[in-house]
């Protein structure tokens, strides 16, 4: 039982716990909190894999921006407990089993040690951050610029959506 594995199991457990409570919690704020737990523990896993930059970005953007936005909206709309309606018969009867089936099959299909995936031959990727940045500005420069454009559009879209139309 090496420490890495130990840490992995702890963080993985946290993540699963968070995900589970995301499903089970009644109040959106609690769901959001549990989602934050998932994200932070995922960041921990990234660190464990030596992807420190991604880990930090995960926390900064996901934890610090996106989820804050969610919580902000929940607070703004003063969203209460979700009412437990079942207007959709399909979802009521078939939904859960199907989703669980999906989960199970996914997990089962992935869980094959002999799958073509090498088991982390080398510990960490050296200078991952530098590689990422150079890659962002060389190989992936067009997608990168496109994402900036996407963000711009998203901002404008959000503004248009959320502003009350002037009478």
């Amino acid at each position: 039982m090496n420490p890495a594995l130990l840490i992995f199991f702890v963080l993985a457990g946290l993540a699963l716990l968070g995900a589970g409570s995301l499903v089970l919690q009644k109040h959106p704020i609690h769901s959001a909190l549990s989602l934050i737990v998932v994200m932070v523990s995922l960041a921990g896993l990234y660190l464990l894999m030596g992807a420190e930059f991604v880990a930090m970005v995960q926390i900064i953007v996901y934890g610090g921006a996106i989820m804050v936005l969610f919580i902000f909206v929940i607070m703004l709309l003063n969203a209460g407990e979700e009412e437990h309606t079942d207007l959709s018969k399909l979802a009521k009867f078939a939904g859960l089993p199907l989703a669980l089936a999906l989960t199970a099959s996914l997990a089962a299909l992935v869980f094959k040690p002999d799958a073509g995936v090498p088991t982390a031959a080398h510990a960490f990727i050296p200078k991952a951050t530098e590689q990422i940045s150079s890659m962002l500005f060389k190989e992936f420069v067009y997608p990168f610029e496109l994402t900036s454009f996407l963000i711009l559009v998203a901002i404008m879209g959000a503004l248009v959506l959320a502003q009350r139309e002037k009478k």
């Binding site: 594995l5 993985a12 699963l16 995900a19 995301l22 499903v23 769901s31 989602l35 998932v38 995922l42 896993l45 990234y46 894999m49 030596g50 992807a51 930059f53 991604v54 970005v57 995960q58 953007v61 996901y62 996106i66 936005l69 969610f70 909206v73 709309l77 969203a79 979700e82 309606t85 207007l87 979802a91 939904g95 859960l96 989703a99 669980l100 989960t103 996914l106 997990a107 869980f111 094959k112 995936v117 090498p118 088991t119 982390a120 031959a121 990727i125 991952a128 990422i132 962002l136 997608p143 994402t147 996407l150 963000i151 559009v153 998203a154 879209g157 959000a158 503004l159 959506l161 959320a162």
Partner: protein, 100 residues
């Protein structure tokens, strides 16, 4: 060292849970969050692969996914605010104008 397929299984399960929440929850915001959860699961798989193959491409993709997620959250939450404003409810089953 942690075997890669551990990560993969974890990501698969997280993804599945996201799907479960997706069909199980009624609150639009929560459904949104479950989508984020799925995205995160995918990110995990990406990073795991990137580490397994010793290539950073995977991590770059994660960055892109995060950016897209951010944009999506911005627009989506805007829409949610609109929905709340117009229908005074966040229950997705009450938002059903799109039918015969």
């Amino acid at each position: 060292m942690v075997p890669t397929h551990y990560y993969l299984v974890l990501s698969a399960v997280l993804f599945g849970l996201g799907a479960v929440a997706f069909v199980f929850k009624r609150n639009i915001i929560t459904i949104f969050m479950s989508i984020e959860l799925m995205l995160n699961a995918v990110n995990l798989a990406f990073v795991a692969f990137s580490q397994a193959f010793g290539k950073v491409e995977g991590q770059v993709f994660v960055l892109f996914v995060i950016v897209v997620a951010a944009a999506e959250a911005a627009v989506g939450l805007g829409i949610i605010i609109l929905i709340q404003r117009n229908r005074q409810s966040l229950n997705i089953e009450k938002v059903n104008l799109l039918k015969l």
